[in-house]
């Protein structure tokens, strides 16, 4: 049964029923398929099975095999075929089953998906969404937990989104599908089963009747605070919020900014927060060297140097291949590690 058609538990209205991150993505795909005949969903196991994470659950049954279909097991083929389909007036949403499985498709993504618009001087647009379940925290084996966002963020021509909330899972996927530019859409695997009291039908109405104000490419302040800013995204947002809650108990008020979109980057929201608090910790799960976190630090010091009361600190994964399940707790940015970094921000008290 499709998650879309799952009955509401008795005694609850659908509006009151909490939705999972995965359900929000599934509903966003279904709504996009309904809204636009040009949208097609394909990849490995996305059809009959509904995807290994069930994000495409029920789509083939509901929309047929021309709209959501399985492909041969070949990531370059999936990405390369998406190029041609987009050139021929479709809006492909493709799934790379796991982060590291996308590497065979990297040539198609970096050399063609990212560049076709530029190469043709704007004559060809490629409205392709590349969904990549990413990052760790689920006890996955090797090649199933990479944070590969820096590769894509470093490639001009690609937008890079990563939602951290159930609401954003829905809204940002709809935005990605409606974008005329290719979007690499990173889904934090460990958040798939997170829940929030979100009414997906209401979100659909809100999205489809949305105000002209732009959300795409904008960061949000996930928690307001006065003393320091945590800049983070994707799977690290809940950890940063937990750290902010713990800091509050110790009398320190931390602001948490969820970047949402790595490309384009919302310098405005970031700088406004940093200038107000004067202290910054950047939190991300990927290895820190040459990372998105490194880019954020550089941008902050370029724009906000005179507002800073302390050097910007980073809490990232170590510069090692993603560790085995029994060791990943030592690798992932933790609440304690974030609080330690906050303590290092040269407080006067």
């Amino acid at each position: 049964m499709s998650t879309l058609q799952a009955p509401a538990p008795s005694g609850q209205t659908p509006a009151a029923r909490p939705a999972t991150f995965a359900q929000a993505l599934n509903t966003a795909l279904a709504d996009a398929l309904t809204a636009d005949d040009a949208v097609v969903v394909f990849g490995e196991d996305v059809g009959t099975l509904g995807g290994v994470f069930r994000i495409t659950d029920g789509l083939t049954q509901r929309f047929g095999r021309t709209r959501c279909f399985d492909t041969p097991l070949a990531e370059s083929g999936i990405a390369g075929m998406a190029v041609g389909m987009a050139m021929n007036r479709m809006r492909p949403v493709i799934e790379m089953q796991f982060d590291a499985f996308a590497y065979p498709a990297f040539e198609q993504i970096a050399s063609h998906i990212a560049k076709m618009h530029n190469r043709t001087r704007g004559a060809v647009t490629l409205p392709i969404v590349i969904r990549i379940p990413y990052a760790g925290g689920i006890g996955g084996v090797e090649h199933h937990c990479d944070s590969s966002e820096a590769y894509y963020a470093h490639t001009p021509g690609l937008k890079v989104f990563t939602p951290a909330t159930v609401e954003d899972a829905y809204l940002m996927l709809r935005e990605a599908i409606d974008s005329d530019d290719p979007v690499v859409f990173f889904e934090p695997k460990k958040l798939y089963w997170s829940k929030a009291p979100v009414d997906l039908a209401e979100l659909r109405d809100r999205y489809e009747n949305r105000a002209p104000e732009r959300r795409e490419g904008r960061a949000v302040v996930a928690r307001t605070g006065q003393d320091a800013t945590i800049l983070t995204y994707g799977p690290s947002v809940p950890t940063a919020l937990a750290a902010a809650a713990a800091a509050e108990a110790e009398g320190r008020s931390l602001e948490v900014v969820d970047l949402r979109s790595i490309v384009p980057f919302d310098d405005e929201t970031v700088a406004a927060s940093v200038r107000r608090t004067g202290r910054v910790v950047v939190v991300a799960e990927a290895p820190g060297f040459a990372s998105v976190a490194a880019e954020i630090v550089a941008r902050v010091q370029e724009r906000c140097f005179h507002s800073l009361a302390a050097p910007v600190r980073r809490v990232t994964g170590f510069d090692i291949p993603y560790p085995s399940p029994k060791l990943e707790e030592y690798y992932l940015p933790s609440v304690d590690r974030i609080l330690d970094a906050v303590d290092d921000l040269q407080w006067e008290d």
């Binding site: 560049k115 530029n118 190469r119 043709t120 001087r121 384009p264 980057f265």
Partner: protein, 391 residues
């Protein structure tokens, strides 16, 4: 199985019923390459054309052949004009298809207007034969922009240098067309070296599994820059690769424009009527180096080059048409003049200094400029303004 017996239009079943061959025998290429006109311009009798049961090809009509010959002569002239422009410093690089023009012309001419062509960087002549202005095709090589034409205008993919990636784009265009119920055929070109790339496998496999009307056209010119075919593939022929994907493959003399038009024409017709992919391998030769940066004498000897001069597609086609009474001196002069006109327009266009606005660098990265690119454009604009006001 009973259902397939009732569909004699299926070329595999028709062939197997008529000739008593298996589907695998049908999908395998004929024992030799298909050739209709020999290097002296003689039309070969049917039994010498390399065909065998299930592999018959009709001779294209005289007016089709004469029209194709004109494109062949123009293509040769453009190749040689571009090579001259490289020597004159008007272009950094030009990968000439001198010697391969019959493949180039046939690839474009076998398609209908709405069909798509996906070329490689060496397929300038095919692209212009499909309708793109020669000057626009050249912008990638003269260094003005990475691509110079709108792929939608003539249904021609943009030329680029990574190998084989375009075959998957061709598959995608065909898949989109099929999902919408359109009967578009896509012809995707690649070279012999490209068949070693992973995307070659993925493209053929996708096209076969999804039953897409794609003709994969391999121009086997014997070398991937310097590496000969013997070090590229151990297959009996590149066309033999097709059967492994469940599609038909065929070999054709790549310097015989008549055979190319017949073979590719039938492949395109079959792709359209059966919605199935096919693989055609043409045996041809790149008479010049890979590009002007390459020294072909390091990996092939002059005797080999001389051997191929005798097989030149232009002289062969001219001899055949003259022998058949389809080409007289007047027609020859008209065609030569047409080729000169194209070359002159190309020369004039290439000699004109095109001014590219540097600020355009920031305009086509995304459909909407990001704030970061807007900032970077401002930096460059300020630099340009300073240059303009500098004494």
């Amino acid at each position: 199985m009973s259902q397939t017996v009732e569909t004699p239009e299926d070329p595999i079943l028709r062939a197997s019923q008529t000739f008593g061959i298996t589907p695998e025998q049908y999908m395998l290429p004929a024992r030799g390459e298909i050739r209709m006109v020999d290097p002296t311009g003689r039309l070969l009798p049917a039994e010498e054309q390399g065909t065998e049961p299930g592999h018959e090809y009709p001779l294209p009509a005289g007016d089709v052949l004469l029209g194709a010959y004109e494109k062949l002569v123009v293509g040769r002239r453009v190749n040689d004009q571009n090579s001259a422009l490289v020597r004159q410093g008007r272009m950094a690089v030009y990968p000439s298809s001198h010697g391969q023009e019959a493949c180039q012309v046939a690839a474009a001419l076998c398609l209908k207007e709405g069909d798509w062509l996906f070329p490689t960087y060496r397929d300038t002549v095919a692209v212009m034969t499909k309708g793109v202005r020669p000057l626009d095709v050249m912008s990638i090589f003269r260094g003005e922009w990475h691509g110079g034409y709108d792929p939608h205008e003539h249904h021609v993919g943009i030329q680029s240098t990574p190998l084989t990636t375009q075959l998957l784009h061709a598959v995608g265009v065909a898949h989109a067309a099929k999902l919408r119920g359109e009967d578009t055929v896509v012809l995707a070109m690649c070279g012999d070296g490209a068949t070693s790339e992973g995307d070659f496998h993925e493209a053929l496999n996708f096209a076969a599994v999804f039953k897409l009307p794609v003709v994969f056209f391999v121009q086997n010119n014997g070398y991937a820059i310097s590496v000969p075919l013997s070090q590229q593939s151990a297959a009996p022929s590149l066309a033999h690769k097709a059967v492994g994907y469940g599609m038909a493959g065929e070999r054709v003399d790549g310097n015989d424009l008549v055979a190319l038009l017949a073979t590719l024409g039938r492949a395109v017709d079959l792709a359209r009527s059966e919605s199935e992919p096919l693989l055609v391998e043409a045996h041809t030769y790149r008479m010049q180096a890979h590009t002007n940066a390459d020294d072909a004498t390091r990996y092939r000897d002059d005797a080999e080059v001389q051997e191929w001069i005798a097989k030149d597609p232009v002289t062969r086609m001219r001899a055949y048409l003259a022998g058949e009474g389809l080409l007289d001196d007047a027609a020859e002069q008209r065609i030569a003049a047409a080729a000169e006109d194209v070359a002159a327009a190309l020369r004039d266009g290439m000699n004109a200094d095109v001014q590219v606005d540097p600020r355009e660098l920031f305009r086509h990265v995304y459909t909407e400029q990001t704030p970061q690119l807007a900032e970077q454009e401002q930096i460059l604009a300020a630099e340009l303004a300073r240059e303009e006001t500098a004494p």
